[in-house]
């Protein structure tokens, strides 16, 4: 445990995910700390950098880890920004832990390695239950998504969501609070969920809660969950997993603007995969169209990504079929404009000549 020259009364605790995952013996990357009994001034004087002018969170000068002054938060309006933050040396560790979302996330370790667990986090870890700490849970609607994400993270260990927490989340969804979430935050949470062990659980819980057609541009179906599973079992990559899910889901006709900000390349890959799902290219012409559809001949080609996803979710893209398209892609890409420029062709003529030559090559290649 680190020691700091902050104030004689100041104490530093390890908190949050690091404590939880240490007790679970689960790998984790970040460690967060809470400082009790100190002032911003004292932290700044010790070389810490404040992350935002109004927010009592500081970065360690060497490790970059987050050190937060113990604080309470009170909701003062709708959405994430509607908070009054109260941080002064009198705020206790227990008060700080009380504002957290789940009991398993509301534990602390002191400098001797002793556990401070006022809300039953260890008990819920043993019982494999995700349970809210208090009614304050409802103050940030993103916690609905976070809880679903933790369910996805620990599903394989047998964790489930407590019934009362499910009810609380249903109430939040019904109240319409999800629609005021920042779309970027929804995406970040969703992206994290995609990278968890069992991403299926996240989306299946959203569906159970009726939240899928608020935050997602589609309705989650059994089909799409199965496709996500097939993807998750072979690809650790959130881009591929999203494409597996989104390309197999039903269109959401009720919601015009879902509360999520999906990065363009995620959206694009899913749409491209959806176009060819169940209809692999049959002819050299189809194959060339497929290659162009996935931008195979330009920077940022999604051909490899598209084939990974189609190969996993669509049995008509079996190994031989995928290999034919891959080799076709290499062969067609080797046809470049230079040779036609030498023949003094111009603009549209060059384009047509390249296509014709690519077709000729594909025709030869695809004849078994």
């Amino acid at each position: 445990m680190m020691t700091f020259d902050l104030a004689p009364t100041a104490r530093v605790y390890k908190v949050g995910g690091a404590v939880r995952d240490t007790l679970l013996n689960y790998p984790h990357s970040e460690t967060d700390w809470v400082v009790v009994g100190a002032t911003p001034k004292a932290l700044l004087a010790s070389g810490f950098r404040q992350v935002g002018a109004d927010f009592p969170v500081f970065l360690h000068p060497e490790t970059g880890e987050e050190f937060a002054l113990a604080r309470t938060e009170r909701k003062s309006g709708q959405g994430y920004h509607g908070f009054t933050v109260h941080a002064d040396p009198s705020v206790t560790l227990e008060e700080d832990l009380l504002r957290r979302d789940l009991t398993i996330n509301a534990m602390a370790l002191d400098e001797h390695g002793d556990l401070i667990d006022p809300y039953g986090g260890q008990r819920d870890l043993d019982a494999k239950v995700l349970r809210h700490v208090s009614a304050n849970f409802s103050e940030d609607p993103l916690r609905v998504l976070r809880t679903c994400r933790f369910a996805a993270r620990y599903h394989h260990l047998g964790f489930t969501v407590a019934e009362k927490t499910m009810q609380l989340m249903r109430d939040i969804v019904t109240s319409g609070e999800l629609s005021v979430l920042a779309p970027d935050r929804v995406w970040r949470e969703t992206e994290k969920a995609l990278n968890e062990n069992t991403p299926r659980t996240y989306f299946s819980l959203l569906r159970t809660l009726g939240a899928d057609n608020i935050v997602l541009p589609f309705v989650v179906t059994d089909n799409s969950l199965d496709a996500l599973d097939s993807m998750a079992s072979i690809a650790p990559n959130s881009l591929h997993r999203w494409a597996g899910l989104a390309s197999s889901a039903a269109a959401n006709k009720q919601v015009v603007a879902p509360v999520i900000n999906i990065p363009k390349r995620y959206d694009q890959l899913a749409a491209r995969v959806q176009r060819y799902r169940g209809s692999p290219p049959q002819t050299p012409e189809d194959t060339l169209a497929f290659l162009e559809h996935f931008d195979a001949f330009r920077q940022g080609s999604q051909l490899a990504d598209g084939l990974v996803v189609l190969g996993a979710i669509d049995e008509s893209f079996h190994k031989t079929q995928v290999a034919r398209i891959q080799k076709g892609g290499q062969l067609a890409a080797s046809v470049r404009g230079e040779q036609f420029i030498k023949q003094h062709l111009k603009g549209p003529e060059i384009k047509a000549a390249i296509s014709a030559e690519r077709l000729r090559q594909l025709d030869a290649l695809l004849d078994d």
Binding site: P281, T283, K319, T320, Q321, Q361, A364, L365, D367, D368
Partner: protein
């Protein structure tokens, strides 16, 4: 003595050897049949061709489209495509011997009540009619007119058989049936455009095409036919009498060998 039938090798000599080891192939006693396409795209075309040439008295090879293409390129009638890689044969000191031997191989073989052909037999032909038509092409391949044939061999037209056809046009449609066909109509109109596991709509302007072996009234429906050529169906014909042995080795999938008497299948990964 056992007879084994191997699917498309296409120069994948190592996987072919893997299969022979699997069945403890005895070159002094056992016989091997090939569905054709011995060469092209694999890493060792020359070794494959030499292997069959050395054992020519104990093997049967029916010609595939790639074998005919090699012969046409070797004769100067056609250029190599980018995806062709049989330079090793063209540069070999024994090239002439090997190619000349290919000129004497048949397009079909019929023995032990089994018919071997590279692509298939169109619905309107019986086995004996198909053998007669194959012999028309074989005769030209062995004669001095073969270069004229190689020049005329490429192309998809005419798309259907007509006994009135003569000359090179007649030979082209026979060759297309026996070495290139996948889909056709029940009357034998060829769709040479579709190459995947399902046909492309409208390749024949709305006429219904199906795999050549799946037509109800096919005249060879009581015969056992073994073929290769069609990697993307992965050997699945849904008919016990029609045995597809191309399982896409050259595409990184598998090579298949069948013991003819026991109908046991052996596979090596590629």
């Amino acid at each position: 003595m056992a007879t084994y039938v191997v699917g498309d090798i296409q120069g994948c000599f190592d996987q072919f050897q893997c299969l022979l080891e699997k069945v403890s192939f005895n070159p002094d006693r056992d016989v091997i049949w090939s569905v054709g396409d011995l060469i092209n795209r694999g890493s060792n075309n020359l070794a494959t061709l030499r292997w069959f040439h050395e054992r020519r008295d104990n093997s049967v090879v029916v010609l595939g489209n790639h074998d005919l293409h090699l012969m046409a390129v070797s004769a100067g009638a056609r250029k190599m495509s980018k995806s062709d890689n049989f330079d090793d044969i063209l540069d070999a000191p024994d090239r002439e011997i090997l190619i000349e031997w290919l000129h004497h191989q048949p397009l079909m073989h019929h023995e032990h009540g089994v018919t071997l052909v590279h692509a298939g037999i169109p619905p309107m032909w019986s086995v004996s009619e198909a053998l007669d038509h194959a012999a028309e092409v074989e005769k030209v391949l062995r004669g001095s007119d073969c270069i004229r044939f190689f020049n005329a061999m490429y192309g998809n037209d005419p798309i259907v058989w007509d006994d009135q056809l003569t000359g090179m046009t007649r030979l082209r449609v026979i060759t297309n049936y026996l070495t290139r066909m996948r889909y056709c109509t029940k009357k034998g109109k060829l769709d040479l455009i579709s190459k995947g596991p399902t046909p492309t709509a409208n390749a024949l302007k709305g006429k219904k095409v199906a795999p050549w072996f799946s037509h109800e009234g096919r005249r060879t429906k009581d015969d056992v036919v073994i073929f290769g050529h069609w990697a993307s169906i992965d050997g699945v014909t849904n008919s016990p009498n029609v045995i597809g042995l191309d399982t896409g080795c050259v595409w990184g999938n598998k090579m298949t060998l069948m013991a003819l008497e026991s109908r046991t299948f052996y596979r090596c990964n590629c």
